[in-house]
């Protein structure tokens, strides 16, 4: 898993699948070239000695959560208003389970 590995078309298509993007083959080739160049540039991070350096996971230390009380939010209608498709008071999606199999 050396980071020197170039990102090829197959790698792009694999990552595209993970990110739910349907890329055409020509698009995947162009992306492979561009991403490889960026990945090559990023490899300069390997020049640094990072032993014993803790990662910065985020900048908000001691995040303050609000009290766990119910407060007014969006109404059911407001929440559904922007949905591309809603049925029976719910978000509607294409069938993803085949009933009866």
């Amino acid at each position: 898993m050396a980071p020197t590995q170039k990102i090829d078309r197959d790698a792009v298509l694999h990552v595209a699948k993970l990110s739910c993007l349907s890329l055409g083959e020509a698009e995947a080739d162009a992306m492979a070239r561009e991403l490889s160049r960026i990945a090559e540039y990023v490899e300069k991070l390997g020049e640094l000695d990072l032993a014993n350096i803790p990662p910065t996971l985020g900048l908000s230390e001691g995040t303050e959560l609000r009290p766990d009380h119910v407060t007014p939010g969006l109404s059911h209608e407001e929440a559904l208003a922007a949905a591309p498709e809603a049925t029976a008071g719910a978000f509607a999606v294409p069938l993803f389970l085949e009933i009866g199999r």
């Binding site: 991403l35 990945a39 990662p55 900048l59 929440a79 591309p84 294409p94």
Partner: protein
């Protein structure tokens, strides 16, 4: 005719009853009508809403109610900020027809401060870019030279101010998206400390970096707008509870005795000579005002671009998973759920957004996480430590905001890496979460604006504004477009 188009002047006159908010609203409409067909700063406008807000402000005053600190001040909003009942697109096809059911906290706070909200401004799609050319709805043009980019991603907000259409605007800054367009268009732009301003209702790009901040014609205007939007918000768990200082008072304080750090790493290869000359001259001006200047080292600066493009894309790939054609935004119908996701995202996202989602997913994927993402997070620690060490010796760090003046439209779009490298001076403060202000200094011989970047320790917005106001005082009128 309204003479002084600044936040302070307008708010003061409206509060004292010397000017009606309705007159300001009418002037705003005229100004946008005159300039925007050429500049394309605005994606959406609501003249009716604007007039209604203005009448409400005038009614309040007539009834003897004390007006808010932004009374009658028109403020343009980057289209990444949710506005109740008003289309919010993030310059993306995937949100082309999205009408949010709520206001972002900053929008609520501007309304509460009696500001006027004329419309939504253009940006790089999902704030991914440095030129506003990655907007799905066409680029914004720089008022100083319309063949050039205004920078980005908050280019529309910068141009609303630089083009004289509104005296202030809100943008968001993830790696420089307020400061760089401010520098390239000759206005003031301020990224506050990470967490100083609530991000509730800001469409997320990279959550460990995103921060909302103001653009304004002058430093005092930015200070006043920041004062109105800053502070704890229970709806954003990362927002900070520390008291908000008096930013306006800070703008009048002397800079005598302050120690300014000049980082060698920001004056190397790739810095345009005219930019360097202008920045060094502005620093000499601060010395004349009584500051002392000291060389400092920020040795990991050269790793900031690589670090940023790993961390930010990783976070973006996760944040943008919510755009799936189910709850809001575009849907391209397909027989199966999986295909519906793919076709919707394929049709809805532009190339730069896809590039970053793919890169972000790649650096998080099995086998690459340690080599890229974890490594970048460790280098981020080194970049933060650079600043911590420097701030033991100096009060603030001064540098160019951008290595070059505004580049031509189309000049960098073919090469994503060249575009990324343009952010070299703004990324480190973002990675460290520090407040960072860009103020205009003397322009190039051909009249292109240049910005001085002032970076201060966490929560020292007051200090950045104080130095910025001093710089401004010695550069009055240098950037009239």
């Amino acid at each position: 005719m309204i003479e002084t188009w600044t936040v302070d002047a307008l708010a003061g006159k409206v509060q004292r009853g010397e000017l009606r908010a309705v007159e300001v609203a009418e002037a705003t409409i005229r100004r946008i009508d005159a300039r925007d067909p050429e500049l394309h700063a605005f994606l959406a406008r609501s003249n009716e809403g604007l007039m209604e807000q203005a009448r409400a402000v005038d009614d309040k005053r007539a009834k003897g109610v004390t007006l808010g600190p932004l009374a009658g001040v028109p403020i343009a909003l980057k289209d990444a900020l949710c506005t109740r009942g008003m289309r919010t697109t993030c310059s993306s096809r995937i949100l082309e027809n999205y009408v949010p059911p709520y206001d972002a906290t900053v929008v609520e706070r501007l309304r509460f401060a009696d500001a006027l909200l004329p419309g939504k401004t253009n940006m790089d799609e999902f704030a991914m870019g440095s030129s506003t050319e990655h907007s799905a709805f066409g680029p914004t043009r720089n008022p100083h030279d319309v063949t050039r980019s205004p920078g980005g991603s908050s280019g529309g907000s910068a141009v609303a101010v630089a083009g004289g259409m509104t005296p202030a605007a809100l943008g968001s800054d993830t790696g420089g998206s307020i400061r760089q367009p401010a520098a390239l268009t000759g206005v003031v732009g301020f990224k506050p400390t990470y967490g100083r301003v609530s991000r509730f209702g800001l469409i997320a790009f990279a959550s460990s970096l995103d921060q909302i901040g103001p653009f304004a014609t002058d430093v005092r205007g930015a200070a006043r707008v920041l004062g109105a939007i800053a502070g704890r918000d229970p709806r954003d768990a990362t927002s900070l509870g520390e008291p908000v200082s008096d930013y306006n008072a800070a703008c009048g304080e002397s800079v005598r005795g302050l120690v300014l750090g000049v980082p060698e790493e920001y004056f190397g290869d790739g810095l345009d000579p005219e930019v360097e000359a202008s920045i060094r001259s502005a620093i000499r001006g601060l010395e004349r005002d009584g500051c002392s200047v000291k060389k400092v080292r920020l040795p990991h600066t050269g790793y900031a671009v690589a670090t940023y493009y790993v961390v930010a894309t990783a976070e973006a790939s996760s944040n943008l998973a919510r755009f799936d054609g189910v709850r809001f935004g575009l849907r391209v119908q397909a027989p199966s759920l999986r295909e519906m996701y793919g076709r919707t995202r394929d049709a809805g996202f532009g190339m730069e957004v896809k590039r970053r989602i793919l890169l972000g997913t790649f650096v998080l994927s099995a086998g690459y996480y340690d080599a890229y993402y974890l490594k970048a997070q460790k280098v981020r620690t080194l970049i933060r430590r650079d600043f911590e060490a420097a701030f033991k010796e100096v009060d603030a760090i001064v540098s160019p905001t951008s290595p070059t003046p505004a580049f031509r439209l189309g000049e960098k779009t073919a090469d994503p890496l060249a575009m990324y490298l343009n952010d070299i001076y703004t990324l480190p403060a973002s990675l460290a979460g520090l407040p960072s202000l860009s103020v205009p200094v003397a322009p190039t011989k051909s009249g292109l604006p240049i910005g001085l970047q002032i970076t201060t320790p966490l929560l020292r917005e007051d200090l950045a504004l104080r130095i910025g106001a001093a710089v401004e005082a010695s550069h009055a009128g240098v950037n009239e477009p």
